[in-house]
Symmetry: C2
Subunit: 329 residues, 2 copies
């Protein structure tokens, strides 16, 4: 079976994005709808089905030209069975046989993926990283997700939970994480953690230019902390600096376990640009070994918000080909 047109869906807490891609992974159409996560599974599911219909119409292709549909979902799942175990940010999404439901409703071969894994694979196939065969991505958003690609293939692991890089322990016995661990990378280097740590510092009495925001009604963001750090605010500098150092330590561990040629940083935090990348790269050099220079390049993602739908579509194509190979046996 040749690789044909695919359709990718990326379900987020706020929006559901979708796109139709040709056999070269070029976007023929894209669109988005609100998730309305509080309305429960049935309502979200209906909007996904409508979005798929809308995308097929917008792409100007016939329905049976769509070889496969890939859906990225924010939560752990059983990939082979196509069941979403639990999507914490989507009300009522518990043990949902999404692959079967969506295949039945659309009449198209559907596949489900973890959203962070899908985004990593999208960045791999669609980014400037095409030259690499091994890549680890860390997506620095509200939390930290990620994906591992080795030999051009997504690593899923025994329980489909590979790439949970945000829960690598970087500070044994450190800050408590809602996951039940202590010292997770996510507790130091996610946008949420950076914001929370600055608030803690101010509430503990440290002098900071962000104190008015902390005590006022304005929402404080990681970007605010980054900007204040650049303007010399000491608590902000300390929090931002430690986020970069912890990220670098995680990169050193990935270097020694997998020795990838490329580590990609993605997510909202990379809007900080050189203020993030510079310290991460220099801490990496400081923390890593000195006996040989087997260092990964550490680079920002280039695809932005489309990585998730692109990766979901590309993985669906792979799954379809693998299923076809299985039938042929």
């Amino acid at each position: 079976m040749s690789a044909r047109t695919t359709l990718g869906i990326d379900i987020g807490g706020t929006n559901i994005k979708g796109g139709v891609l040709d056999d070269q992974d070029r976007l023929l159409a894209r669109s988005a709808v609100e998730t309305r996560a509080d309305e429960g599974f049935e309502a979200s599911f209906a909007r996904i089905v409508a979005l798929i219909d809308e995308l097929i119409a917008a792409a100007g292709v016939s329905r049976n030209a769509i070889a496969a549909v890939g859906v990225g979902v924010p939560g752990p799942m059983d990939h082979a069975a196509g069941v979403v175990r639990h999507a914490p940010n989507l009300d009522g999404w518990v043990n949902i046989p999404l692959r079967r439901l969506l295949t039945e409703r659309t009449g198209l071969p559907c596949f489900v993926e973890n959203d962070a894994n899908a985004a990593a694979f999208g960045e791999f196939v669609g980014g400037t990283q095409r030259a690499a065969t091994d890549m680890v991505m860390l997506t620095l958003g509200t939390g930290i997700g990620g994906g591992v690609i080795l030999g051009g293939r997504l690593v899923r692991g025994r329980f489909d939970n590979a790439g949970e890089v945000g829960h690598m322990i970087v500070a044994l016995g450190g800050r408590a994480c809602p996951c039940g661990q202590r010292g997770c990378l996510e507790r130091y280097a996610s946008a949420n953690a950076i914001r929370e740590r600055l608030i803690e510092a101010v509430r503990a009495g440290e002098k900071s230019s962000l104190a008015p925001a902390v005590y006022g009604s304005e929402p404080l963001t990681a970007e605010d902390v980054c900007r204040a750090a650049q303007q010399g605010d000491e608590p902000s500098q300390r929090v931002w600096d430690e986020a970069c150092r912890m990220l670098a330590a995680a990169c050193v561990n990935l270097q020694h376990v997998l020795n990838p040629g490329l580590i990609v940083l993605a997510g909202g935090l990379i809007n900080a640009g050189e203020a993030l990348l510079g310290p991460v790269q220099s801490y990496f050099k400081e923390l890593t070994w000195k006996i040989c220079e087997d260092f990964p390049r550490i680079e920002p993602a280039v695809l932005g918000g489309d990585a998730g739908l692109l990766g979901a579509a590309a993985l669906a194509r792979e799954a379809l080909l693998a299923a076809g190979a299985g039938h042929a046996r």
Copy 2:
């Protein structure tokens, strides 16, 4: 080309072991010679060549029945080029084109591998782990080496340095490692580190039943520390316990990055049996997340000293098949 008889060599600092294996990876013959690492490369090389001849004779097969020879070397290398960059424990082994030299001298297709990677692959193909497709091995000896197997294949990485699990940072800013990092797993959980940390505790004035050994002429080993810990010696308990805790933290990080079904502990330290495995497993449960039970089994290696030569031979067979596939294209 069908898989045929292979020959594996495992070069250690003290002995060079070798074996001939049939197409089911069963040992037809095995032997060993002293390494005499201080006599330089040429002398060791001559002993390897003689060992290969001896093994072929002992196996009772003709020379051209040997499909491939695999050699595990303790140091970083360029696998594709077959060049050993540096074997720190073997005098004069710097930038040695071992694959070419050995192929020329023996007339057989030879391949080189990192010894820890070879041992991990040997345990994978020859151990009870055949049921798993993903496995990470940590070899706890003088240092800590290891290997990563995903989808049944050894992961080498961009610079052939994957599986250097002993240099995962488990204590940021912690104990200095000769590699130039701080806080490497190897500085807490290798046999050397356990011994050194107990000596440091005694020299710092702590009361210990091992003080006579520290100040006497008897060599102190990690096994002594384990035994003293079981008999209630407090510094020994603390050192042993922390080794187990750091190992468990490393296993948690491997869980989240790769989500393997199996982590195997190997090397001299596993002679401690349940005194090692019990605390590592219970610390793992304590340190890992509580949101789902995607835990790897953590088990001791079963092959012992033959894993390295078995893995080197099995990887040589794979390399030969891959080279054949390349020619066929």
